[in-house]
């Protein structure tokens, strides 16, 4: 039975459970809903939850385990010799899966009957050609071992599918029956629905945390592989970035890190004053009508894809800076420069800083403003001495968030600052960042066993640690000032 149908059946049972549970609850109270412990819908929801949730949970686990189990049982059918011939076990197994799926397609298309499929043998039929007729392309001729394994795979898969459908539907029905029988006038359906909601919320947060952990681990393993091939000292302290895929490359982190920090600092120098002042104007000075127009306009900036900013850097800001600053000052002739990327990235970050700061400044209680005005302070004195100190933790948070964005930005750097790693103080020189090099090392034909490709993971992990450090710092600052002010 296809998965979608199974899913629909479970949901339909859930809906049925809802209706039945609700009816039974009302009937148990003699038709008067006021006699019930909970509202009738809670009884219905309770039965629906008991029907759907365990069934779907089992389905999810089954879907994860089924391929693993079948694969383990089929692998043993393939002799070692066949594996050596093709290269690796996973390649053979993917062949097996393709043949098995191909046979399914052929049966579905009517090119083969179910009985014919079972009796297939490589001696009588050219399986590859037969499958090719229904649009399943195979890489090479199908060997008897692979065909046998594929047939076995199919058989196991079909049995497992049937078992799965049966089990899930039975579970749903059992859940429905259990929930239905528990529904009585005094049953606390409201409390059990509450617990189900709590479980749902906990599941969501657990998933979010587990994903983060998963990302870190995947990076960690590859980074570990990298450091087995390349000395960590030379990575962390190397001053040269010269990858060459023939081997013998220099993969020093310092030039990339320097580029990242240099560009980020310029971006923050542009975005923080402008963003913060804009936020102060919006929150403290601007009239209602002006704010209603200007705030969304600034926020539009946040919605522009970074590649568009990159184009802006490439065709407008870069040549402008080169013609009016770099060349007259004798600092360079390149339109790709740290300055270009930094300025454009700064523009991109303005809405982050201004919009967050604006909200934070608005959250400063009016009583503090009144207190300051009541003592004869002017507006800017009030802003500087009362509002900004009160809003500081939030503003620092906003700035560090912007810094994290700047460090992780890629497109603007590629188009604005170029892709050449350099270690220089000249802001009009082309430089590049960690993120650009991660992209660079992983695009194209890469061999995942060479340090030149694996270095991307080490770079990624370094970046992750840096942004994590920034976030921890932000949390620390926010907490420190909170203690002082509240």
């Amino acid at each position: 039975m296809p998965l979608l149908w199974l899913f629909v059946i479970v949901l339909a049972l859930g809906a049925l459970g809802f209706v039945l549970g609700r009816q039974r609850a009302i009937a148990s109270a003699g038709g008067d809903a006021r006699q019930l412990h909970s509202l009738p819908n809670y009884y219905g929801s309770n039965v629906a939850i008991l029907t759907v949730v365990p069934a779907l949970m089992v389905l999810a686990v089954w879907l994860i385990l089924q391929p693993m189990v079948i694969q383990a049982r089929v692998t043993s059918l393939i002799p070692e010799a066949a594996i050596e011939q093709i290269g690796s076990r996973s390649l053979v197994m993917s062949d097996v899966r393709r043949v098995a799926e191909g046979l399914d397609t052929a049966v579905a298309a009517g090119a083969l009957s179910e009985a014919e499929t079972r009796g297939l043998s490589t001696d009588e039929t050219d399986v590859r050609a037969r499958l090719g007729e229904v649009g399943v392309a195979l890489g090479g001729a199908v060997t008897p071992e692979v065909l046998a394994a594929a047939l076995r795979y199919r058989a196991l898969d079909h049995t497992a599918d049937t078992l799965r459908s049966g089990l899930v539907i039975v579970l749903a029905a059992l859940g429905l029956a259990y929930g239905y029988l528990r529904t009585r006038q005094e049953f606390r359906a409201r409390n059990s629905v509450e617990r189900a909601i709590l479980a749902l919320l906990m599941l969501a947060s657990t998933l979010a945390i587990l994903t983060t952990v998963g990302i870190v681990f995947s990076m960690l393993f590859e980074t570990f592989n990298f450091f087995e091939l390349y000395p960590w000292r030379e990575f962390f302290f190397g001053l040269e970035w010269r990858p060459s895929f023939e081997g013998g490359s220099d993969l020093g982190l310092i030039p990339l890190l320097w580029g990242t920090l240099y560009i980020s600092i310029i971006a923050l120098l542009v975005s923080v004053p402008i963003g913060l002042f804009a936020a102060i104007y919006m929150a403290e000075y601007a009239g209602k009508r002006f704010r209603a127009v200007a705030k969304p306009l600034i926020e539009v900036l946040a919605g522009i894809p970074t590649i568009v900013y990159g184009l802006f850097a490439l065709i407008t800001v870069g040549p402008l800076l080169r013609d009016y600053f770099a060349q007259p000052l004798g600092l360079g002739t390149s339109s790709s420069s740290v300055m270009t990327a930094g300025v454009v990235m700064g523009i991109m970050l303005i809405p982050f800083v201004s919009s967050l700061s604006d909200d934070i400044i608005n959250a400063v209680p009016q009583s503090l403003r009144d207190g300051s005005y009541g003592l004869g302070a002017t507006q800017s004195e009030t802003v500087r001495q009362v509002i900004l100190p009160a809003a500081l933790p939030g503003i620092v948070g906003a700035i560090l968030l912007a810094a994290s964005r700047a460090i992780g930005e890629t497109m603007i750097v590629v188009l604005g600052a170029g892709a050449a790693a350099a270690l220089s103080l000249n802001p009009f020189e082309a430089m590049t960042t960690v993120t650009v090099k991660i992209v660079g090392q992983l695009t194209g034909d890469t061999n995942f066993e060479s340090p030149e490709a694996l270095v991307a993971f080490a770079l990624g992990l370094t970046l992750f640690v840096i942004t994590l450090g920034l976030n921890v710092l932000a949390l620390y600052i926010v907490r420190k000032y909170r203690e002082q002010y509240e």
């Binding site: 009239g287 207190g371 009541g374 003592l375 004869g376 100190p389 002082q484």
Partner: protein, 265 residues
């Protein structure tokens, strides 16, 4: 007993500090204050009483032009401080507010240290020539606000860490540090417990020696305890204004009597 205390405290000075004539306040189209005439005497505590929404706080905020910060608010009529119209174009509202200080309903210490809270006004108005002089102003203000002994050992602690009553006295210290001539208090005790209220009331009585104090209050007992003059507001009108003892014992207007005896409001 309260009435006894009230009559003992004579009014020492009859100088008119602030004078309001035909004051009208509009919030948008809402006519919030109608034709109010009040004379605020120097070195006197004047209480504004009346039911909620009667305009007493609005009128109080006219006296130091705090209503300027509200866009839709419009004030007409004449209010003078020492004979000078405070709504005149020449008058800088910022300077005016240094002379007419204000204490708010809810204690609102700044998120700064106790010292910086009190030093805030003197610093922005340049009242102290040096650190020593500023220290002196801060200490004097805190002493006058009757909170010095409680905070002298922790002037660097945040003002927001004090208790509600202490915070309100800190705000009073902050207001008197700029050396105002008139101190406006908008229900200064409504967020305080009875003990803190008693302390603040005692303080108001002491402050009368130096400033003229205008207090808005919902508590008629409080008005009777602390003030020499009382103004009764009702629906944006000033119904009656006079000696506190007279307002509370023998009011002219039947509406005043109804309010004081608890029949309206």
């Amino acid at each position: 007993m309260n009435d006894m205390r009230m009559t003992e405290r004579g009014v020492d000075s009859k100088n008119i500090k602030m004078k309001a004539r035909k004051v009208q306040v509009f919030y948008g189209t809402n006519h919030a204050i109608k034709d109010v005439d009040v004379d605020i005497e120097d070195k006197t505590v004047t209480a504004f009483i009346g039911p909620s929404g009667c305009g007493k706080s609005t009128f109080l905020r006219c006296l130091n032009r705090m209503n300027d910060t509200i866009d839709i608010c419009r004030v007409e009529g004449e209010i003078t401080l020492d004979g000078e119209d405070i709504y005149d174009r020449k008058v800088d509202p910022v300077q005016l507010r240094a002379k007419v200080g204000m204490v708010f309903q809810k204690p609102n210490p700044f998120p700064k240290s106790i010292y910086d809270n009190v030093a805030y006004g003197p610093r922005i108005h340049g009242l102290a020539r040096g650190k020593a002089e500023l220290d002196e102003i801060v200490e004097k203000s805190l002493r006058r606000a009757a909170i010095w002994n409680e905070v002298k050992d922790r002037l660097d602690a945040p003002g927001t860490g004090l208790s509600g009553g202490q915070q309100q006295r800190l705000c009073i210290a902050r207001a008197i540090a700029t050396g105002p001539e008139v101190l406006l208090m908008d229900e200064p005790c409504s967020a305080l417990d009875p003990i803190a209220t008693a302390q603040v009331e005692e303080l108001i009585d002491e402050l009368r020696e130096r400033f003229s104090v205008v207090i808005v209050t919902h508590s008629m007992q409080q008005a009777a305890r602390v003030s020499q003059k009382t103004a009764f507001f009702h629906l944006g009108n000033l119904v009656e204004y006079g000696e506190t003892s007279k307002i509370f014992t023998n009011p002219d207007d039947p509406r005043t009597e109804s309010y004081i005896t608890g029949r309206i409001g």
